[in-house]
């Protein structure tokens, strides 16, 4: 009995040695979101809002290339997301909203619907879950995307294709969705 217990303990100890200690997906997603959110808020406040709205030296425009203007904050974020996807960095992210101006950015999967509703109903809280897309299972985290500057609110409230026109500063306008394949 004592011998069996010793063998069992030794195997358990060895198994523990072989196990890599990783970062929990939630923690990893939170860290990635903090970078995305910091860049997004900085670009929105210190570039777009300052130059386009306050100092009015350049416009921010959807057709920024043609019109020699600044990319909109949502476009800037999508450009980053596409570069990350192209590099096959091991995760993907997207900016979605139930009130998206571009309808391709409305929630598409069941978990996206559920998560965006959750962060809207529970300000300040994040949503975590798993879902299968194609043949792959993903860990999916959804974070509130808050109106950090008057530029966000005025643009979305005034856009002819915006399905909602009563956004206020500090309100959740959509969500940042981060995914890892499991």
């Amino acid at each position: 009995m004592r011998k069996s217990a010793f063998i069992f303990a030794a195997i358990a100890a060895l198994a523990g040695c072989g196990e890599k200690s990783g970062i929990e997906p939630e923690r990893m997603a939170d860290a990635i979101f903090s970078v995305i959110e910091a860049d997004r808020a900085s670009y929105t406040n210190f570039v777009v809002n300052r130059l386009a709205n306050e100092e009015q030296v350049i416009k921010a425009d959807e057709h920024w290339k043609d019109n020699k203007a600044l990319p909109l904050p949502a476009q800037m974020m999508r450009m980053g997301a596409e570069r990350v996807a192209e590099q096959e960095a091991g995760f993907n992210y997207a900016l979605l909203s139930q009130w998206a101006i571009n309808k391709q950015n409305k929630p598409r999967t069941d978990l996206e619907q559920q998560g965006l509703q959750f962060i809207n109903d529970n300000p300040g809280k994040n949503f975590y879950g798993t879902e299968t897309l194609g043949d792959t299972e993903y860990f999916t985290a959804i974070y509130p995307d808050v109106a950090v500057s008057p530029a966000c609110v005025s643009c979305h409230n005034e856009h002819v294709d915006s399905p909602r026109t009563d956004f206020e500063l500090g309100e959740t306008m959509g969500g940042v969705v981060i995914r890892f394949p499991m």
Binding site: H63, N92, K103, V160
Partner: protein
Amino acid sequence: MNNYKFKFWHYGLILTLCAAGLITYNLEASDKSYFLGGEATHGHHQLELACTTCHGDGFAGEAFIQQACVGCHSEELEDANDSHPRTKFLDPRNANLLKQLDARQCVACHTEHKPEITHDMGVTLASDFCVHCHSDIAENRPNHAEFTFDSCASAGCHNYHDNRYLHEEFLAARIGASDLVANGQLPVRNLVARWKQANPQRHSLSRNDADMTFPGVPEDTSAGIIQQWATSTHAQTDTNCSGCHVDEKMTFTSAEIVELCGSCHVDQRENFTQGKHGLRLSPATPETFRKITGAMTPAEAVIPMKETSGKPLSCTSCHYAHETDTRYAAVEACLGCHNDEHSLAYRSSAHFKAWQADSETGVSCANCHMPRETHGDRVVINHNQNHNLRPNEKMLPVCLNCHGVEFSVSALADEQLLENNFSQSVTNRHDTFRLIRERITKKTSSK
């Protein structure tokens, strides 16, 4: 030997060996034409025997083929501000859509060597392919409910890749302009003026400065050549005979001509070898292919050409070697080969009449198909005549120099007008402008 009795299998063996020898010769030493899996599209037919460009060693997989597409077309797609770049489809949330149509791969929509299913733009899908991802368009844009999905990617509405000149803001900003712009004019060429400005110490040359003699050439012929050169832009820009006839070389292949001219006219050579005229001389093709097939000849074209045109194409097919007459290159050279309805109708068009009266304000073949592009203070003639050909809205920046946007889009979308080279008035205005006006009204009233 005479008594040797051939058995049936002997004949079979000899036949097999002969066939194997012939096939091996075609693969290793000839043009590989036996291995062509089917006629290539109009965009690639010049290169259909440059197999390794797209297929590598023959066993290269999808990734190699995708890279081959991107290798040649990525710059063009970037310029076009591609509406559907591959990166757009890498998000896992598109997994279900990709099961229906894997838009990450060019060949999902453009399968080569399948002439029986190839449509305009080399697309090998049914023409209502937009429905795969945009089935809910009527819900998001109710004014689109009246349209069918096979009409999305039609002239004047949308393109899959290039919508630079079709998006709402571009059209809305220009709507209402008159059909004919007052004092409309193309950008003025400035190559020689810029050269003179950059080289004030150098001077134009005259007949007496020619630094070559022509041994064995009749005197009146050589005098004629020198006279042509003396009135050319080459003489104006201090380029003497020996600048081209290095070591007194007198005969050149098409490839050598393109190489020689390109040593000074770098942009022109790059553009020329990107278009159908010069594609076979592109450095992107294997050297063995260039050696075996040589330059493109008009007789090998898939559109109607005149029977009299036949020499391999190079710079001097359109520009005389010594005269460099751009008026000839802009019309006569084109019509010397092209024999389709659009080309044949040109001389009856208002564009031609205006060009005959004044080549600076009129419109030649080259003015539309080899557009003058402004890059900073440089006005460059784009020598890739396919650059703005398909989809034809890519030609709008040229048209808009002289015409209003509504007139231009409507003309480019009218197949009859394209065929008769705009020899009739534009009577049918494109429906897209009705929708744009509705949007403008909606935007105004929502403010």
